[in-house]
Symmetry: C2
Subunit: 556 residues, 2 copies
């Protein structure tokens, strides 16, 4: 009989920041009972996935083994951890567990997709324990940039695993429990930690992380001194920051108004679940419009420059009756995620044109990260002393650096990117298998594979433009090709119309072409493409995409 083993398999989140999905398994090889931790999304960009709504991990591997899946555990309510729950749950249909705040967000996601919410169970923090096949799972509160984030203690017959989730070491986090070294020491003392799967986001930040509480002073000063209306943006889910900003506003004798659906939702869920207490009174936009500018503070969505969010809307002009003016201030109490710079800068410049004073985080004065920096990671490693470490939640460079950090401290560590199944049964992590993984796109309401070619065609049309050639076999000979251009200049060399040049040259070609070519759809298609591309290169120096439609006689 084969020995039982303990496995770890990231399907998303390892080798990228986003769309987290981590599988653990215990049992005989190929028969392991499984659990899934997190089911998140990542966001598309124009370069690689234009027009796509969100990107999710391709969980086919798990779907094919859904009969062995015991449960899904969600660590916190950030989109990159919970965002795919509504979309992918139907492929798995297993019980879901989360803490109260996260569960409330999760239920909203399931409801949006018309799914039953009773499969989602609210879990209390440790010592409460969920049993899922061979796994016993506890939620340990940690600080992050959203309420009720949690690390998981996953006890298995092969030993204890700590799955850090997203965390920082914050001893005064404004909202939620402060970091507790004693608690973590107790976790390690209770049972040795076999493996730590650990957040790697900030492994390149070499200074100790700063507490959320350090922001109150600078923010209060900034907001008090500002002469006109004060508008601040941050992630809607960063409820502690919203509280800090709101309290600073109150200290500056400003009335608070919140703009943006996602931020309002987070505040209302925070209120409902009791994670947020003592938040200053918030007024409606209509009430806010009656308040003198000097006494007003808007909290708005759109810290990443998102075109549809409130910060962008305000930068374009009037929004819900509000209009920014010379003397007003705007604060990005946030960090720009790489790739979002252009959008953020666009907003900044638009405000600059209005005479609005813009502040960014100013080197950390008005923003702190929600992830543990390198010294904090090292502190955590030392506190729980795991036998082995597997970095997660990072691009390859973050994972590799985290392995270096752990190795230097004498901990056996291994990079495992998406699809790398590790066997954790022994003394050190060992690669057991490589599993095919990938990305799923939500495109409109359709789920499509990243490699289906759909998005590739869109990118090609964007780069090269499109020529559609229509041939009608009813014409005899096929001498009247029709050319439509999309995304191409209509004039070629010497000002001639490009489609007419193509039509004339194609007509010539068709007249010369042999009967054999004309009768063979594939061959005809290929030849016409070639002719069109050659003309385009001569006329406009581009090789466009070409679609050929041959309308043959319909046999009715």
């Amino acid at each position: 009989m084969t020995k039982d083993r303990l496995i770890y398999l990231p399907l998303g989140g390892a080798g990228e920041i986003g769309m987290n999905a981590y599988v653990y398994g215990y049992g005989a090889p190929g028969k392991e009972r499984l659990i899934l931790v997190d089911l998140g999304v990542t966001f598309p960009d124009m370069d690689t996935a234009p027009g796509v709504e969100v990107i999710m991990p391709d969980i086919s591997w798990l779907e094919e083994r859904a009969d062995r899946l015991e449960a899904i555990f969600i660590t916190h309510a950030h989109e990159d951890h919970i965002g795919a729950l509504g979309l992918l749950w139907p492929k798995l249909k297993k019980p879901v567990y989360a803490r109260r705040f996260t569960a409330t967000i999760g239920r909203l996601k399931l409801e949006e997709e018309g799914l039953p919410v009773d499969m989602l169970t609210t879990v209390e923090a440790r010592p409460a324990t969920v049993e899922a096949g061979p796994f016993r799972v506890q939620y340990v509160p940690v600080s992050h940039s959203i309420p009720e984030s949690a690390a998981l203690i996953i006890d298995t017959p092969a030993g204890r695993i700590v799955h850090s989730g997203d965390f920082k070491i914050d001893r005064s986090p404004v909202v939620g429990e402060p970091w507790d070294d004693a608690l973590w020491a107790a976790v390690a003392a209770e049972k040795p930690v076999k493996a730590l799967m650990c957040d790697s986001t900030n492994v390149f930040s070499t200074h100790e992380g700063r507490s959320e509480a350090t922001l109150a002073g600078p923010l209060t000063e900034l907001i008090s001194k500002a002469p006109g209306m004060f508008v601040a943006t941050t992630f809607g889910s960063n409820v502690a920051r919203l509280k800090t900003l709101a309290e600073a506003a109150r200290a500056a004798d400003r009335t608070i108004c919140v703009l943006g659906r996602s931020m309002k939702r987070m505040l209302s869920v925070s209120d409902e679940t009791g994670v947020l207490q003592g938040f200053p009174r918030v007024v409606s936009p209509d009430e806010a419009l009656e308040v003198p500018r000097r006494n007003l503070m808007l909290l708005v969505t759109g810290s990443q420059g998102e075109r549809r969010a409130a910060s962008a809307a305000l930068s374009r002009g009037k929004y819900l009756g509000f209009e920014m003016r010379e003397g007003d201030s705007f604060l990005f109490s946030s960090r720009t995620i790489p790739g979002n710079e252009r959008g953020v800068i666009r907003i900044w410049n638009a405000y600059s044109e209005m005479g609005v004073t813009v502040h960014d985080d100013e080197g950390g004065l008005y923003h702190v990260s929600g992830h543990a920096n390198r010294p904090d990671l090292e502190h955590f490693h030392r506190t729980i002393l795991p036998d082995m470490l597997v970095p997660m939640h990072g691009e390859h460079r973050h994972l590799a650096e985290h392995v270096r950090v752990a190795t230097e401290a004498g901990i056996a560590a291994q990079v495992a990117v998406n699809g790398t199944m590790l066997d954790l049964s022994g003394e050190v992590p060992v690669v057991a298998e490589y599993v095919e993984t990938g990305r799923l796109y939500l495109d409109g309401t359709a789920l499509i594979g990243a490699l289906d070619g759909v998005v590739r065609d869109r990118i090609r049309m964007a780069l090269n433009g499109l020529v559609t050639v229509i041939l009608d076999e009813n014409d005899q000979p096929m001498g009247e090709p029709w050319v439509e251009l999309m995304g191409l200049t209509d004039k070629g060399k010497g000002g001639r119309l490009l489609n007419e040049t193509m039509e004339a040259d194609l007509a010539d070609y068709l007249e010369r072409a042999g009967r054999k070519v004309l009768k063979n759809d594939d061959k005809l298609d290929e030849e016409i493409r070639k002719v069109v591309r050659q003309i385009a290169m001569e006329e406009i120096g581009k090789k466009p995409e070409v679609t050929v439609v041959v309308s043959r006689l319909v046999a009715e």
Copy 2:
């Protein structure tokens, strides 16, 4: 008779970083004699200009007044200052002036476009003077990140203008003349400076700029300690950096090989024009392949993550016989321009997967900027004490901040973005007129306007996909519509083929449609679009672009 006036009009570079083009004029209003300073490009991105080669200022205003244009002055050979010379010179056809290094690059650009190179005259540094109508222009060497960068002294009947060009205050620039306070004091003493048009790129950097020479120590240490092959990238035109890197390599007993056409060209022009002396010997790739890795240093193009450059090619695998391996090092001796982060990070992660150690500028240890920081700008203002200051070379936020800095120092300052004509004749700059400006795209070999709709269509196809509907009037009734999909999933709800669903529903529609609609092309087009989009929304939740082709009976 109307009084003569002195005007300034940015056509590019003010309100953006890139495609610099600044017009000065002197004379009776509407009859000013003109000069143009710089004629640069900017680079497209997928979000706003997919498939475009380069972006240039729309210089129609100047083209229409080319009879009044005396000359074109190029300050230095960076693409954002000289890149459009070959493409736009035919619209102006006026004498061009530049220092030796810049002129050599300029001639190559003119040659590439098959233009005469004898219109380009090499200018010596001040006191040499070019007379151009009412203007007397001198080139003053300044430090920047390319050889022979220059500020211009533009003497006019209305007073002296200093056009800073791109500059930094560097007293040990490795290549070229050190910053010389005495020289600038002399410029101001000789004749009061009426207006300073000043580089604004680094106005948000609050620390004093650092000299190129500070890099030699850290780079030598880094390169000496590296165990395997060492590969470094920087801008190909940053010849001083290449020299610093090469000398560090030589000190570390490494042979140097250069990969990348643009870098090789810059080195050869530097050599040819005598700006670079004592550059260590460079070997060919074939020779380099014989050198032990520990003794090899590659200097490669692609510091901004460009897909076609050497750094990206090496990150994808074998390139010209070279292959990166575990233990090798890669250095970005550069800063990532906002918007290029994803490309740079992609390369970093690819190297990380190969086990290559990657270094970025590490907070300035391995890279210094070529632009003056705020304290340096203030120092320059104080040195030449202009009556007025007009910030250039910056986004709106940079220009506005630079105005604040100058105003605090008691200098009359004014933001003037592209198209803002300033009258500089009086005590303070006054807005005289707003001129229509814009962007030209080089798309393949065609010049198209940014607002022509061509690129807009490409973006729409990328976001929404495309449905082409072909109707043939030869069919009676027009009941056999043909639907082609591009960039759209082929399956709708319940797995039905999307094009077949559309064809069936369109056939139904056409059967129901009145004769009036069928006979009216515009109406038919509009109705078919509506039907297609409605089906697409129902089936896949997207509103695609729609092209309708009605093939009517051809009257022959």
